[in-house]
């Protein structure tokens, strides 16, 4: 949420692993990125949320030194992406929307090839490949070509491929697009494991639940510009409030229940149509306040539900406020 403070010697102070400051990128007259600033600390997940064309992949390309920014500066693991691209490439792994592996080689041969290119001797390369195959549960498929893999397996191989060189920072560009639910969950668990190990992750996604589950902080992009950033809770707080919905026991008088809650300091709203009481709450402890208040007047709640604004609410609200590309 706070403004971006650029450390002068990031590579030695070391804790900020991804940072972009006022990065803009134009393609002809198209402004793909407009003064975008993001940062991520070591061992955290930063999610870039946005529609197709919001600028997510362009920002990933800038941060992985594949595309020079038109203006602004960006550094990964403390190395400037324009001045020290090779140093950046040594420290990052990238998994894109499409599996980037050689279809002519087997899964294992792909990993060995990458380890060799990163400077491993043949023996260490094979050891690293086997280590990753085991880690990702791919041993059974090691001798097969990626063409025979399912979508989920291929994505796992691709992620394994981007980890061959022990990167400090990994970029996951829509890693679960097109995956079935169980494969998504699978990939999420792998990412959580990596983060627990201290890897920094930048994730782009169109899926709000994915950002909600994995990200420590979320930046919402629309038409190349940052329209919001913060934690999942902070973003939700900017849009809607959490609610508790009580359905009193059939025998109870809803008006009594309303009074009791009001006396406890909250503001209940009667929903006559459904016979429920909706209470906007500030903090989760207010749920206990509601239950206590009802208990004091002897009313049993037949049903009690907790309503949280979803990131969908956040995204729709923010994206509708922001100007859309014409």
């Amino acid at each position: 949420m706070s403004g971006l403070a650029l450390p002068t010697a990031a590579r030695t102070t070391g804790d900020i692993m991804i940072e972009a400051a006022d990065v803009s990128k134009t393609f002809g007259s198209l402004r793909a990125l407009d003064s975008v600033s993001v940062s991520a600390r070591r061992g955290t997940v930063l999610a870039l949320l946005g529609h197709n064309g919001a600028g997510k992949t362009t920002l990933v390309n800038v941060l992985t030194a594949a595309l020079p920014p038109t203006s602004g500066r960006a550094a990964v693991a403390g190395f400037d992406v324009v001045r020290e691209p090779r140093e950046v490439r040594k420290r990052v792994g990238l998994t894109g929307q499409f599996a980037s592996v050689d279809p002519q080689l087997t899964g294992r041969e792909n990993l060995v090839l990458l380890a060799r290119l990163l400077g491993a001797d043949p023996r260490s390369a094979r050891a690293r490949a086997d280590e990753l195959l085991e880690l990702f549960g791919l041993q059974k498929f090691a001798a097969r070509r990626p063409g025979t893999y399912s979508g989920g397996l291929r994505r796992r191989l691709d992620l394994a491929a981007s980890l061959v060189g022990h990167p400090n920072v990994i970029f996951l560009d829509e890693p679960t697009t097109g995956l079935d639910p169980s494969s998504r969950l699978n990939l999420w668990e792998i990412v959580e494991g990596l983060v627990a190990e201290g890897t920094t992750v930048l994730l782009t996604t169109q899926y709000l639940d994915e950002a909600d589950r994995l990200a420590d902080s979320i930046t919402v992009l629309s038409a190349g510009a940052v329209i919001a950033s913060g934690t999942s809770d902070e973003l939700k707080a900017t849009v809607g409030r959490r609610t508790v919905t009580v359905t009193p026991d059939a025998a109870a008088d809803p008006a009594v229940a309303c009074d009791a809650v009001r006396r406890a300091g909250l503001e209940p709203v009667m929903d006559h149509e459904n016979g429920t009481i909706v209470i906007v709450i500030e903090a989760s402890k207010d749920v206990a306040v509601v239950i206590r208040a009802l208990d004091q007047v002897g009313i049993e709640a037949a049903e009690l539900s907790f309503g949280e604004p979803t990131l969908d609410d956040v995204y729709l609200t923010l994206a509708n406020q922001a100007p859309r590309p014409s």
């Binding site: 090779r86 592996v101 090839l113 394994a160 169980s182 699978n186 990596l194």
Partner: protein, 285 residues
């Protein structure tokens, strides 16, 4: 159910980020020499695992070898045909050059494939020199062309009794020149691949560029036997120099001038193609 699919959930947490052990010893990248060696090996592996590629590549030169020599054997009696040699002797160097040119186009196809399957995208975010992949493709293709030319020569010698006047050494030299043309001309097609980036226009280019160039040359008929306008085209065609030079070597006739021009033209193509390829390859995906 999902957790059983991977080994991470119930066992120890994954350690891919770990910098212990072998990790510290490498990861900093490899030399360009290693990159080229590893990537060439990778391209060649496809020949071993997918022999269809090489068999299919052999199909055309072998068919041309057997059909051309039989269909046009009467050509040996034409007015401008060199004295004392058979049509097989005449056409064999052209078959070698045709094979060389066909192989050259394959270098470009390989690069397009790498662009399509994401290999290039993968290598771009690694500390790998962009030219390494291109050089590796060109070298792997040279190996492939060598195998094909060897097979064609062996078939010509054993089945058709090919025995050129220059003897085995000169025959090898002519094969060497053909391979030099493969490698240098390959760079023009690699350059085209990095700019076109799609297989279809590449294949069209290969057909459009090669078919007329091969026929409007001294390949299958003496230039003087061609109609005058075609003869003029043939004399300006760089492939004519390549074919004349390869033929002069195999037949052991004077032709140093053609060889020099052929090498010179090929080298210029390689340098210009190489530069354009690297520029084209660096453009954003």
């Amino acid at each position: 159910m999902t957790t059983q699919l991977i080994g991470t959930s119930d066992s120890a947490p994954p350690t891919p980020g770990s910098t212990k052990g072998s990790a510290a010893a490498w990861g900093g990248g490899s030399s360009m020499f290693t990159q080229i060696r590893v990537l060439t090996g990778r391209s060649l592996r496809a020949l071993v695992t997918d022999p269809g590629v090489i068999l299919f590549g052999l199909f055309q030169p072998v068919i041309i070898l057997f059909i051309l020599t039989q269909v046009f054997s009467g050509m040996g009696k034409s007015a401008h045909f060199p004295q004392g040699i058979s049509y097989l002797d005449f056409v064999m160097p052209a078959i070698l050059v045709d094979n060389a040119v066909q192989s050259a186009t394959q270098s470009g196809i390989g690069v397009v494939e790498d662009l399509k399957n994401g290999m290039v995208a993968r290598l771009r975010c690694l500390p790998v020199h962009p030219s390494s992949l291109l050089i590796a493709r060109s070298l792997a293709n040279l190996v492939r062309a060598t195998i094909q030319i060897a097979v064609v020569i062996v078939l010509a010698v054993t089945v058709l009794g090919y025995s050129p006047q220059g003897g085995p050494e000169k025959l090898l030299a002519s094969a060497g020149l053909a391979l030099f043309i493969t490698w240098t001309l390959g760079w023009a097609f690699i350059a085209a691949a990095t700019w076109l980036r799609r297989a279809e226009p590449m294949q069209n280019l290969a057909v459009i560029a090669i078919l007329p160039l091969m026929f409007a040359s001294s390949a299958y008929v003496p230039v003087d036997d061609l109609p005058s306008w075609l003869s003029a085209v043939a004399q300006a065609n760089p492939l004519t120099y390549a074919i004349d030079a390869t033929r002069a070597l195999a037949l052991d006739t004077p032709g140093t001038g053609s060889a020099l021009i052929a090498v010179l033209i090929s080298s210029v193509i390689a340098v210009v193609g190489g530069v354009l390829a690297v520029i084209g390859f660096r453009r954003p995906l």
